[in-house]
């Protein structure tokens, strides 16, 4: 069983920097839905010990990217953006929703909370 500490959205970068400066390896970010919000769990590891924190994100809120601190977060955050529609601020490289999904793919297919619609068509296909 895992336990993760909850932090505020504006504390993400500070917290990630703490892990980086203390020699933690980035493992991944996991996004899921809980009670009408998105929950993103950030997981790090040092000497095989995992440590995690999580944030709750409301629809339309932008999440600070940690890809400037951990470059390895880049594909993960782009994937979360595509699959759940969550926007990340200051991504090192923003694939504009086209890393995994094609131009005509369903929009944010893993999210039941709809927060993103493409300009073209304005509806899920």
């Amino acid at each position: 069983m895992i336990t993760t500490k909850e932090i505020k959205l504006e504390e993400i970068e500070k917290e990630a920097k703490y892990y980086y400066e203390n020699g933690y390896r980035f493992v991944t970010e996991t996004c899921l839905e809980e009670e009408g919000k998105f929950k993103i769990i950030y997981t790090f590891e040092k000497d095989y010990q995992m440590d995690s924190f999580h944030v709750f994100v409301s629809p339309q809120e932008e999440v600070p990217s940690i890809s400037k601190i951990y470059f390895a977060a880049l594909p993960v955050e782009n994937e979360i953006h595509e699959m759940f529609g969550i926007k990340f601020k200051n991504l090192v490289l923003d694939f504009q929703g086209l890393l995994f999904l094609g131009e005509y793919a369903p929009i944010s297919p893993q999210a039941s909370i709809e927060i993103m619609r493409r300009d073209k068509g304005d509806k899920n296909e």
């Binding site: 493992v27 996991t30 899921l32 390895a72 999904l101």
Partner: protein, 363 residues
Amino acid sequence: MIRMSEKSTIPFGPQHPVLPEPIHLKLVVEDEKVVEAYPAFGFVHRGLELLVKKKDFNQMVYVVDHICGICSAMHGQSYCQAVEELIGVEVPERAKYLRVIWAEIHRIHSHLLWFGLLADAFGFENLFMLSWRIREKIMDILEATAGNRVIISVNIVGGVRRDIDNEQAKWVLNELKEVEESLKELDKIVRNNYTIKQRTVGVGVLSKDEAYKLGAVGPTLRGSGVPIDMRTTGYAAYKDLDFEPIVEKDGDTYARTIVRVKEMFQSIDLVRQAISKLPEGELNVKVKPNLPAGEVISRVEQPRGEVFYYIKSTGGKYLDRLRVRTPTFANLASLLHMLPGSSLADVPVLVLTIDPCISCTER
């Protein structure tokens, strides 16, 4: 007239002779030098994580087994370990050892497949054929012991579904002896062949610090001198087996190749150890039809590195969320770091150096 070098964009993939699976790279080059690389995936995206809403936790074992053919057994194992921890069930000792045996045979199968593809990438066709010829024997072992050559589906929640009896175990050991002899021949070629060294030494160098900070896993990480191997955490029966993570220091494609070659010998040794210690007992235990609420993370060392499974349940037959972070996904950052500055001719070798599994990455 001398022309200044100009930037041009070259598409690499999704269909390319060296790619076993589709991946697209937009390569910005100046003459023969890659200056920028932008990846695009999604050609085989299946949305398998979403199936937790339609398949119950037992049926999901078959789904995760099919995430990838090359490391199928470890996907099933990692998922089952997560569910078993959530339920709080203790898997029989025999099942733990059998999981190790099949996982290590799968590792050899995967590394030999990769080795053949690497040889093919730099035009060494004979070596490709030699590697895949050895692999056939491994596939025969999988078929004889598990009933299938690729997706063996031996794991179930609570243990394993098949057994290896004494006679079969002896046969496996004999077969592995022959595989070991063939691997020694392959090892000799890797260490002495001019072509292999020309195409791999000094190509795609990742320092120890870079590999760690980029979140690399598996041979990509260990080839840069970082001794991280999830098997040392002691899941399944690894806690009872004697082994150390295999590490090389140079951080280039050659170092990663040597790590994988050594790991094949290590896997043979681990299978021998596991068979010699294989305890008597049940293959699996019955589990209750409903899950308790909770969140679990399970990590297993696949051939490409650490696979990460996150599961969440609020009770009932179905999981609320399954998240799979595959090793290739973790190694993407390292690939994107290695490509700029490389020669265009080295791109196929660099793509293969992380042993990419696109089916895994896209799920």
